[in-house]
Symmetry: C2
Subunit: 469 residues, 2 copies
């Protein structure tokens, strides 16, 4: 027996559940199918728990490095058991809150596995059995999972993914992290602060591949000074199980010399793969592009009435991108005509200090924008940063020759909450002057944003305007 539904959404992560909420606001009646827990990887095993562990261990690091405390500091440790309990508690609270919002908005939820049979029909397997639903609209939001390497597969024991890395209890004595992207650097930081000997191996020439090089290089130096061992251009070729853990062997591409590292555990953080293979009745049902569901700028797939959003469609695999696309898909499926635009899609790495960024890197500007301007401002000259022992940071703005802001990069405490001013500016094509003439509170780190905008024009007040003028 087939039932008919207005809208079926496959996947209850930040793409799917937000699409459901927005669709409900528009008068649609979505059915949201999630196999595990509402909130998806982000809320349950990703963004949220990582930020919690980072916050707790940042406090520990602050305790260890602040020279203006006295007393038996060496005896103070993280109550890891309590941290783990509270991690679960906070996530449960967010999941329950999300379930409550879905319910109050009239979104029906099914805990089960969904399979797309064709452009209209979805088969749902749940505890109550199997059913086939005919849907007016389908939104695919099945997310992604951690990628294995050819010779190194996660076993959840010695070779783990970010998911298991949240709850290593006790923290391991040593940890090898494969990949120096956001996940590797954040979880590497957590365990380094807890006393684990952390070694990060990256095959590309720098950490945070794709980022502005000057900013990434500065963050790399800071993380090294915090005790993370970071090695770039490291090609891993073999993984060997040892009595104590795992040994990774390979070659350093800088000089083609072999390397060998051993640790109790290996964290795979070398990218993620889309979950398109988990819900397609047959290959070829949807156009894919290297595993990602191909969509147009309205987030329509190759099947009429079927939309896809989030990690599943590729681009930057970020929760807020998924939510944004979820909103767009829900609106487009309900009569709107909104287009994706990634030119003002921000991202952050929650290390200490945080790194946040939006728009073009200097390297991208050099390729695409003749006559581009840059303005950088060091937190060494920022009063608030000095009062926070955070003077290593940097703000960098990129503008076109017409002064229109094209990119912004902030390495500073709270950078992720400071970038919105610039996301707004990049999205609305505002100019350097729009930012520099906006009064910033003294003393704040964000004053450095205004100074960087002035610097790009040779008009910085709290730095020498060398070079350009």
């Amino acid at each position: 027996m087939e039932e008919s539904r207005d809208m079926v959404i496959i996947g209850g992560g930040p793409g799917g559940y937000v699409a459901a909420l927005r669709a409900a606001q528009l008068g649609r009646r979505p059915l949201l199918v999630e196999e595990h827990r509402v909130g998806g990887v982000c809320m349950n095993w990703g963004c949220i728990p990582t930020k919690f562990l980072l916050h707790q261990t940042a406090l520990l690091r602050e305790l260890r490095t602040n020279k203006r405390l006295s007393g038996p500091l060496d005896g103070v440790t993280c109550d890891w058991k309590r941290v783990q309990e509270d991690r679960v508690r906070i996530i449960d609270r967010l999941v329950k809150g999300t379930e409550f919002l879905l319910e109050k908005n009239g979104v029906e939820r099914v805990k089960g596995r969904a399979v797309l049979l064709d452009e209209r029909r979805v088969r749902i397997a749940s505890e109550e059995g199997e059913r086939v639903v005919e849907a007016g609209t389908v939104i695919l939001a099945a997310g992604s999972r951690s990628a294995d390497l050819p010779f190194l597969k996660a076993d959840g024991r010695r070779v783990i993914t970010s998911r298991e890395a949240l709850e290593l209890d006790p923290p391991p004595g040593s940890l090898l992290v494969v990949g120096a992207g956001a996940i590797g650097l954040e979880l590497g930081s957590v365990y380094a602060r807890l006393g684990t000997k952390v070694t990060v191996l990256e095959i590309l020439p720098g950490i945070l591949p794709g980022s502005d090089r000057e900013m990434a290089t500065r963050l790399e130096r800071l993380l090294k000074s915090q005790g993370l061992s970071l090695f770039t251009r490291m090609r891993i070729e073999r993984a060997v199980e040892t009595p104590e853990g795992v040994r990774l062997e390979g070659a350093c591409l800088k000089n083609d010399t072999p390397f060998s590292f051993e640790a109790e555990r290996v964290l795979l953080a070398a990218g993620r793969v889309p979950n398109a293979d988990t819900f397609l009745e047959r290959p070829g049902l949807l156009d894919l592009d290297r595993g990602f569901v191909r969509v147009d700028e309205r987030l329509r797939t190759s099947l009429p009435g079927v939309y896809a959003v989030g990690d599943l469609v590729g681009g930057k695999l970020l929760a807020h991108k998924a939510s944004h696309e979820g909103i767009l898909a829900a609106e487009n499926a309900s009569g709107a005509d909104r287009h994706r635009d990634d030119s003002a899609l921000p991202l952050a790495v929650f290390t200490a200090p945080e790194y946040a960024s939006v728009g073009l890197s200097e390297e991208e500007a050099r390729e695409r924008v003749p006559g581009f301007l840059t303005g950088t401002f060091s937190l060494q000259a920022n009063g608030r940063a000095l009062t926070m022992d955070a003077a290593e940071g940097l703000v960098k703005l990129i503008a076109g020759p017409d002064d229109v802001l094209l990119g912004a990069h902030i390495l500073a405490p709270g950078a992720s909450d400071m970038i919105p001013e610039l996301t707004l500016a990049v999205r609305l094509r505002l100019k350097l002057r729009d930012v520099s003439e906006t009064i910033h509170i003294h003393p704040t780190i964000s004053e450095s944003i205004a100074e960087a905008a002035l610097k790009a024009k040779g008009l910085a007040l709290h730095a020498l305007n060398t070079g350009r003028f």
Copy 2:
């Protein structure tokens, strides 16, 4: 013998030294006269040292309240001597940096006292003796000082101002703070965290007079839960020196009952008075308005060629307002025609959490903007805030009936660095939609800004849209 100068600036604080830097960029040759230290009250005895003490003691508070640390926490204290040394060190570094910038920009500096003789002539008394300078332009930036009360004058010993409060060593056992403005709440927080019994007395009905009431009330509750005793509508009538310190007596205006509080020290934080009386050769030389120098919207005083900026001209006594006005005055004195506009002048109180604000409060909107909209979002529903134990915060936006943003209020960790997005929006008359459609990083506290903007239109995703819709 008279010498002639292009421009004389009286006062080297954030108004004066920034005016000097900007004037120098415009090809002017300013002579900057400062009696004490470059950077003024803000850098030496105000904003900067307070923020340093707040940062250090916030860490102590975090240590005391975080339940996920274990070990001999009770034995950990603030090394107050070291804090005091580092306070001096950081300020010295900023002052030297500012002196370096002034020098490199060709600004001549004199350590001395300046007196305005008439619209062209300034008499300068320094260690080298006295001279009279004839100036093409004069910019007055002499700042303000702590106000006494009729029956309570600062003696620098038992009755102190914010200046002495920076270096109480050891911290007093008890402290009475007169005035619940930013200075009183910040310094009150510092000493409360150090274990001082702090009592704040405010004559007006709420803390942070002039602020949005809902936000101020919430902050008041939070500060009380942190151990600050806060009393409002308290009219102080007498101060009595006692063997142990000072007793303040008066009446609570709520019910006209008498009160009496005693403490080792009293901090006067009940407003500031302009320093106009310190540099005028004779009263009546300049038009004043209740002691403040009267200026027009181009910052021109009643004397041709004489500008005034900062605390001296009144309005909100904020360092960044002074700097902004310094820039405008330097530009106007050099041929520009820029007008003051306080509609997007942000302010912050650096308590825990911080409170930052720009534009209209809800009370002001109610008076001036028929059909205004409000959107509030509680950090209880913000994932990042939960991971930071900071769910007590609130974001509130005020918009006109045309959706144009008119005010924004943030109570959250890092609020002072989050407000620029909204300062920009208020200044450029952007709409709620401009903010809500800008992608905010997940998980960040600033997502609450986008949610508050959605909420104002009944479209919040992570909260119920009750009330309006």
